[in-house]
Symmetry: C2
Subunit: 133 residues, 2 copies
């Protein structure tokens, strides 16, 4: 399978696949006589794994470490579990932050709805943005 086929099958671009190889996520495949990369189905499975892990919020560096571990013959269950837990905690934190920001924005939106532009003109500044009590 050539890189274009693999790209079509995995939903990535050829650029991204070469980048993944370069980044150590995908081993260098054999080449055809013409110098083209020649992938097996295993490569597609590996890319599927990468996508899956990525959609779970793991970084490429983390995914690489899992794959390296796996390639070395070890079973990375414990690491996978740990990463999942860490990411869950991170996600919760980001959710808290986003909700905080949303609260701020909603306060501002309310204020904007109640603000008379004339008031801003008076102040010489838009008074919408300003200290949130």
């Amino acid at each position: 399978m050539r890189i274009g086929d693999l790209a079509a099958r995995s939903g990535l671009t050829t650029k991204t696949i070469r980048f993944y190889e370069q980044a150590g996520l995908l081993p260098e495949p054999p080449r055809t006589s013409g110098g083209y990369r020649d992938y097996s189905d295993e490569a597609a499975a590996r890319l599927a794994f990468v996508r899956e892990a990525q959609s779970a919020g793991l970084t490429l560096a983390e995914i690489r470490s899992l794959l390296t571990l796996r390639d070395s013959g070890q079973v990375p269950c414990a690491q996978v579990t740990r990463l999942i837990d860490e990411h869950l905690a991170e996600i919760e934190e980001r959710l808290r932050e986003l909700r905080r920001t949303r609260r701020t924005l909603r306060t501002l939106a309310t204020r904007a709805a109640e603000t008379d532009p004339a008031e801003c003109a008076e102040a010489g500044v838009c008074t919408i943005l300003g200290p949130i009590p």
Copy 2:
């Protein structure tokens, strides 16, 4: 007021303040005879505005456009309102995405708890990460 005082007062670093000046968020202040930047209290107010807008999720580019507008004597209420609404929509979208990711991770965590490492060893791969039904 020198840059260090302004930094202390605004909670930013001197590096960041120079960066903001360079980025067009803060006008070039007058200099002392020794060449040091000499800030007025207005600069502190401006930085407070920047921080406030930033904590509402606006990008520096957006904040710059608001400030430029304001500096030109216009009252940017309408723009502020529009930006707030846009950012609220963005935040909602990010929240949805994060919740989706959290669901994925929770599924994985459950699976991890139920998975017998022996099973993985058999498969030669950690089976935790894999298609989410």
